[in-house]
């Protein structure tokens, strides 16, 4: 197992620059998730780490060794592909044994290693089957088995769960987290699904347009998003952004007035904010509750049992989503009031930069 350092990685395809100088230091035995929307460069970055693509500039250092120009097999990595990349003509056994056969290991050793991987992944009964005879989850496990037997220093996963249905994805998330604990391995995992990122990662790298927006623990990203992009990307349902005007600032924080007329003092560092500046107040749906404050004309009500998600329009015409108690006495079409604890609010200036919150939960990185 090993550390993984990316130093000023850039990548251009023709005239298009898709990675703009990525710097990351991933610790030994850490589970790091790259997350971001389609086209943000996360898969490209993973492929560069794997050696499937070459960086236009920058260095990749694995376990203290510069592998920027090394062949994939010499980097001590293994990779699980989104499509699983199983060989359809080979049995499960031979699929898992493939890297060992390439390396020319003796049969006894191949058998022992495949047997151990099959044990870990509960595939012992399936070893003689072909991939076509397996379910999606089992195929995924075979792909993981193939990467385990190589005993790599760093495991790479490229959206490995995106072809599975929702229920199976949930199960596989748990299995992967368990596997990470069992193997004590350094793992880098790419996904566009922020739920996977939040549930599995020690630390998350949020990528946007080829740049790292933020690198931190899931709760750090949740409570202290560095930018408006991270704030809206992390959290389900997405954070509401409600426009407001700065009235002034004092020791208590920033006084703002929402476009609907509601005034509130938010405990954030106001920075250079001046009266009259436009800001956006970020409010997570789960921090809103029924009460005096913002008004919401309720358009759609989704009752999930434990919670009720309400979507509607605020007084200024913007869209607001709130997560209320499952049996909240609300109906579609009515106008309700929403209140929130000012300490839960995030404030973004006109450039999308966040104003540091004063009362957010303390974090252990």
């Amino acid at each position: 197992m090993a550390t993984l350092d990316l130093q000023n990685i850039t990548k251009t395809f023709g005239a298009a620059k898709v990675l703009h100088g990525i710097d990351l230091a991933i610790r030994d035995k850490e589970f790091v998730v790259f997350v971001g929307p389609s086209g943000c460069g996360k898969s490209t970055l993973l492929r560069i780490i794997a050696g499937l693509d070459e960086a236009s500039s920058g260095r990749i250092v694995i376990g203290g060794q510069d592998v920027s120009h090394a062949a994939p097999v010499d980097r001590g990595i293994s990779m699980v592909f989104q499509s699983y990349a199983l060989y359809p003509h080979l049995s499960v056994y031979e699929n898992i044994a493939f890297p060992l056969r390439v390396a020319g290991l003796p049969e006894a050793e191949v058998k022992a290693k495949v047997g151990r991987a099959a044990d870990i992944l509960q595939l012992t009964e399936k070893l003689q089957l072909k991939p076509g005879q397996l379910s999606g989850g089992q195929r995924q496990r075979v792909a993981i088995g193939r990467s385990i037997v190589r005993n790599p220093r760093v495991f790479l996963f490229d959206e490995p769960l995106s072809n599975l249905d929702a229920a199976l994805r949930g199960d596989m998330r748990v299995e992967l987290s368990q596997l990470h604990r069992d193997l004590s391995a350094t793992m880098v995992y790419v996904t566009h699904d922020q739920v996977e990122a939040m549930t599995m990662a020690h630390r998350i790298v949020v990528l946007n347009k080829g740049r790292v927006e933020q690198f931190g623990s899931p709760m750090e990203l949740y409570h202290h998003p560095a930018t408006r992009f991270v704030a809206t990307f992390i959290g389900q349902p997405n954070m509401n952004l409600v426009p407001a005007t700065v009235l002034g600032s004092d020791a208590a924080g920033l006084a703002v007035e929402f476009d609907g007329g509601h005034r509130v003092v938010l405990p954030v560092e106001p920075g250079n904010a001046k009266p009259g500046d436009r800001v956006e107040v970020g409010l997570r749906p789960e921090n809103l509750r029924q009460g005096e404050g913002l008004s919401l004309r309720l358009r759609v009500l989704e009752r999930l049992g434990g919670v009720a998600i309400v979507h509607g329009q605020s007084a200024d015409g913007g869209r607001i989503c709130a997560s209320l108690a499952g049996d909240a006495a609300v109906t579609e079409g009515e106008t309700i009031g929403l209140s929130f604890n000012p300490a839960d609010a995030h404030v973004f200036d006109a450039e999308g930069r966040v104003m540091r919150r004063r009362q957010a939960p303390a974090l252990a990185a």
Binding site: L52, Y84, Y87, F98, V102
Partner: protein, 310 residues
């Protein structure tokens, strides 16, 4: 929505209108195709079988029973022709497959101008066989042909060498032309199969340290195996039946040196007007090709099973 729900709940779609049962309606649908096959395939086939039991020629026909077959199977020359046909088929098909595989691999490689090369291999297949063969006739000509000319000037031969004038050289020259015509299609089929292989498989193998040759052997070949088997057997049938190339180059000569079963059948039935004897030869070919087809279907199903194609 309501309409869909109703029709889904109504069970099998009812086609039986105007008193037709479902089975009769199905027969009605295939009837035009059946009629077409009956006229174009079944009737000539049955007529050929009937003819093979007669001594039909320009003067009329009489029932002779198995006499044509007895004559045929008792003839050493006919067995020579059968052996030659199989040798012709084996050599030609093997070369087409090997060259086709090499060509497809090169065309599939990430080389500059790949699209141009893909177009450039087409002409042998695209231009009419007769025109291609006339080109080859020129090449093989002893006095003004390129091959003989080069052989003379490099001292390989003392004088003009008429390639198509000798049994052995004519036979192999005909094979070269047949391979020239047949290889592009084999290449394109192999290329299409190679492009259907999931690229992730190669990347996964590369990450695991597999080199080019290893990837080709362990991934490409098994992945395109069903197509290779299909092409091998179809190509075998087409080559077995290949007529126009031999006919244009040598008309089965010299002294029968390039006469395969199909050429022999033509010469007997159309050249010598012995329709009955020719029909008997055609029936033997049909039986052999039927055996091929059977083997083809068996092998293909086994290969598909082996290589994980459903």
């Amino acid at each position: 929505m309501a309409g869909n729900t109703e029709s889904n709940g109504a069970g099998p779609v009812k086609v039986a209108r105007r008193g037709l049962s479902e089975g009769a309606f199905a027969w009605l649908l295939v009837a035009p195709a059946m009629a077409f096959i009956a006229v174009i395939v079944a009737w000539p086939l049955l007529e050929t079988v009937r003819l093979s039991f007669t001594n039909a020629d320009l003067g009329g026909e009489e029932w002779v029973g198995l006499a044509n077959y007895e004559k045929l199977l008792g003839s050493a020359k006919f067995f020579e022709i059968i052996l030659r046909t199989f040798w012709w088929m084996f050599l030609s098909v093997s070369l087409k497959l090997v060259l086709g595989l090499v060509g497809a691999t090169l065309l599939n490689a990430a080389i500059p101008g790949r699209a141009l090369f893909r177009v450039l291999i087409m002409p042998p297949w695209v231009i009419p066989v007769a025109i291609g063969c006339i080109g080859w006739l020129w090449l093989y000509n002893g006095y003004f042909g390129l091959i003989s000319g080069v052989a003379m000037r490099t001292g390989l031969t003392d004088g003009p060498f008429e390639i198509l004038a000798y049994k052995t050289s004519a036979f192999y020259a005909a094979i070269v032309t047949d391979v020239w015509v047949g290889t592009p299609m084999v290449s394109l089929f192999f290329l299409a199969a190679m492009q259907g292989v999931n690229r992730d498989l190669y990347e996964a193998a590369w990450v695991d340290g597999a080199g080019r040759w290893y990837r080709f052997r362990r991934i490409t070949l098994p992945q395109i195996m069903p197509v290779m088997v299909s092409m091998a057997l179809l190509s075998a049938i087409w080559t077995f039946n290949s007529f126009e190339i031999i006919w244009i180059l040598t008309q089965g000569g010299p002294r029968g040196g390039t006469t395969t079963m199909i050429v022999d059948t033509y010469k007997t039935a159309i050249g010598n007007f012995k329709f009955g004897e020719g029909a008997a030869r055609a029936v033997v070919i049909v039986v052999l090709l039927a055996v091929f087809s059977l083997i083809y279907l068996r092998v293909l199903s086994a290969v598909n099973k082996r290589y994980g194609v459903k």
